[in-house]
C-alpha cells in the first residue's frame, strides 16, 4: 500500500485498535506518546560515533571493545540493555585489508541504542537480499568503491545479536580531538555502507 489514501485508511485502523486497547486497560493515558518520545530520544548515530572515536584514540579501549563490546561500551556510558531485552553486541573494525558491513536478512535487527532508528533501506528486502549475495556491488551503489583485493565480511544480525562497524580512521586526522573525530563518523560508516 502507498499514497495518502492508503495512509489515511491505515491511520484510522491504528486509531481504532488503540482506542480498543485503552478501553480494555491495556494502554495507559499518554503511554503511546511517552514511548514514542523515549524511542526518538533514546539513541542516535552520535552514540556509535563516540565509540568509534574512542577506539581510534585509545588502542586499549579498542581491544576491549572488539573482545567484549557489551562491557566496553559501558566505559562511554552506553548500554545494550535499554530495550525490551538485553542484546549481545559484537563490534568489528575495518582495516586496510578487510571491510565489514551489517545486515539483518530475516527482518530488521539493528543496534538502535547506538545508531537510533534504522533507515528504511536497511529494512528493505532489496538491501537484505542483495548485500549477502553481492556486497561489493551494493557498497559501490552506496558510493563506496573498495579495492578488488579488500576482503568483505557481511554480518547477519539476529534477535539476540547486534553488530556495529568501526570505520578506518581517515588520513590526516592526527591533530583532531576525540570529539572532532566523532563528528566525522556517519551512521552509514557504522553500518559499513560508507567509508567513515
Amino acid at each position: 500500500m502507498s499514497g495518502d489514501h492508503a495512509s489515511a485508511a491505515i491511520a484510522g485502523q491504528v486509531r481504532h485498535v488503540e482506542t480498543l486497547l485503552e478501553r480494555r486497560g491495556l494502554l495507559a493515558d499518554g503511554e503511546i506518546d511517552r514511548r514514542i518520545d523515549e524511542f526518538l530520544a533514546g539513541g542516535s548515530p552520535a552514540n556509535g560515533a563516540r565509540i568509534a572515536a574512542r577506539a581510534w584514540v585509545d588502542p586499549a579501549f579498542r581491544e576491549r571493545l572488539l573482545a567484549d563490546a557489551n562491557g566496553a561500551i559501558g566505559e562511554v556510558g552506553l548500554s545494550m540493555s535499554g530495550g525490551i531485552q538485553e542484546q549481545r553486541l559484537k563490534v568489528v573494525a575495518n582495516s586496510d585489508t578487510e571491510h565489514h558491513v551489517v545486515v539483518c536478512t530475516l527482518c530488521s535487527c539493528y543496534p538502535i541504542a547506538l545508531l537510533g532508528p534504522s533507515p528504511t533501506w536497511y529494512k528493505s528486502e532489496a538491501y537484505r537480499s542483495r548485500v549477502v549475495r553481492d556486497p561489493r556491488a551494493v557498497l559501490a551503489e552506496f558510493g563506496l568503491q573498495l579495492p578488488p583485493d579488500t576482503r568483505i565480511a557481511v554480518w547477519d544480525a539476529s534477535a539476540e545479536s547486534r553488530y556495529m562497524v568501526i570505520p578506518r580512521r581517515p588520513a590526516g586526522t592526527a591533530g583532531l580531538s576525540e570529539v572532532e573525530l566523532a563528528g566525522l563518523v556517519t551512521r552509514n560508516g557504522l553500518i559499513g555502507t560508507a567509508a567513515v
Partner: protein, 94 residues
Amino acid sequence: MSRINDVGGMVGFPAIVEETDEPGFHADWEAHVFAMNSALIRRGVYNLDEFRDAVERMPPAAYLEASYYEKWFAAITTLLAEKGVATPEELTGG
C-alpha cells in the same frame, strides 16, 4: 522450509533506495504502531519472539506488499485476536 522473510541471497527485488534526511517515522500512525507494540510486549500480552513470528508467518504476498510498519500492525492484530484480547471483527471495527 524458509518463510518469505528469509530473503538473504534472493534475486529480483528492486534497487536499494536511500532516502536523504530520513525521519524516524514517516507518519504518526507508524509511531503509534511502534509504541503500541512496545506497550503490549512490556505488559506481557505477547512476547518479542511471538511478535517476530507473527510478522514472519504473514502470507507471502501480503508480506511483500506491506511496508515495514504495515507488517507490524498486521502482526499486532493477528496476536491480539489469537490471544483473545479482541475478536477479529472488533479489531477491524466491523
